[in-house]
């Protein structure tokens, strides 16, 4: 697949991810968003495009869109969390490429879902707590407060992991779906419309 198609895929699916975070962020917990939305979209696009680095790019696009959203809690925390989720996904899939991408057995699919969602949730939470204070002069970086809360983060991460263990095998079924059935013209026009719609919705409705 050519680079322009992949780049459009990054923008389209990153925008969808960002839109879902903005719309659902106020209603769903971070565990559900990570396990369902983030893992679901990143795994699906990895299967469809089979392109390394794409999910980190999607994270950047989604984070940029979320930065426009003044609702739904801490904007900077969300932006950092999404960027970290994309990066952690790439790291996990870098370590287990053939096992995950060519996974045939259900047990490997479930394990991949649990490990990816658990790592994405816990690391993005911790990084959010560490990096966010750097943007505010009155906020101090507090490792002590974070350390006290680590067991709770690890406990919450289990929920995200278990959700990932269900979502991943379900998403793996899209392995068979390719974007090649779309002609280039259709792909570019539909992709551009989808991405533009996501950005317009967030800017008009949430700003």
């Amino acid at each position: 697949m050519n680079k322009t198609k992949i780049l459009l895929g990054v923008v389209v699916f990153g925008s969808i991810w960002g839109l879902l975070e903005c719309v659902l962020g106020s209603y769903l917990s971070g565990r559900v968003l990570t396990g369902v939305v983030a893992l679901g979209l990143m795994a699906a696009t990895r299967f469809i495009y089979n392109q390394k680095g794409m999910q980190a790019g999607m994270g950047l696009v989604a984070a940029a869109l979320v930065a426009f959203n003044p609702l739904g809690g801490c904007v900077i925390c969300s932006v950092i969390a999404i960027v970290v989720e994309g990066a952690v996904f790439e790291l996990v899939w870098f370590a287990f490429p053939s096992d995950i991408e060519k996974a045939e057995s259900m047990s490997i699919k479930i394990c991949a879902g649990i490990v990816t969602a658990y790592a994405c949730y816990t690391l993005s939470y911790v990084m959010g707590q560490i990096v966010t204070p750097l943007f505010f002069s009155d906020a101090k970086l507090q490792f002590g407060s974070l350390a006290v809360f680590i067991p709770t983060i690890l406990s919450k991460g289990l929920v995200a992991g278990l959700i990932g263990g269900v979502v991943f095998p379900a998403v793996a079924s899209v392995k068979q779906i390719g974007v090649s059935f779309l002609r280039s013209r259709q792909y570019y026009s539909l992709g551009s419309i989808a991405a533009a719609t996501c950005w317009i919705v967030v800017i008009i409705l949430f700003r």
């Binding site: 904007v75 053939s98 096992d99 906020a139 507090q142």
Partner: protein
């Protein structure tokens, strides 16, 4: 592209399964630890230092201030009511029901409010400092 040998793939699969088991054990262990040793602090009011206030005490005789879209009692007023001496020389750890906590300076306390929904709001700090279900404010000398 370098192809992985069958043995290497098998080894990675085993490692993935082992990692999953380890993460589940860590998650379950953390959940048990929280449940058994760090049970949620359920209090009706707010404990500031050694003084416990009911919500009625806090809200009946105090002027309500609006910060962002939230309305509540000034945190500085609560600290004063609790009889904290030299408030500017202290630091304040705000602790939620689930153990989540953040420490702030007097400067931020002066800007902050405590809402009837037991949420602490600071206009000068990121929202990860806006602690929900606040049960306690610990006061320590800097």
């Amino acid at each position: 592209m370098v192809k992985q040998g069958k043995g290497e793939v098998k080894g990675k699969k085993r490692f993935l399964i082992l990692l999953t088991v380890v993460l589940i054990v860590i998650g379950v262990g953390s959940t048990l630890y929280i449940t058994l040793f760090k049970g949620a602090e359920k209090t009706e009011g707010l404990l500031v230092g050694e003084t416990e206030f009911s919500l009625n005490e806090l809200f009946s005789a105090s002027e309500l201030i609006t910060v962002k879209e939230y309305q509540g009692v000034a945190l500085a007023e609560i600290i004063n009511k609790a009889g904290i001496e030299n408030p500017e020389a202290q630091e304040y750890t705000i602790i939620a029901e689930d153990g989540y906590q953040k420490t702030v300076e007097w400067k931020s306390i002066q800007e902050g409010i405590f809402t009837r929904e037991k949420r602490v709001v600071f206009p000068d700090l990121p929202q990860q400092y806006w602690i929900k279900n606040t049960t306690r404010i610990e006061v320590r000398e800097k």
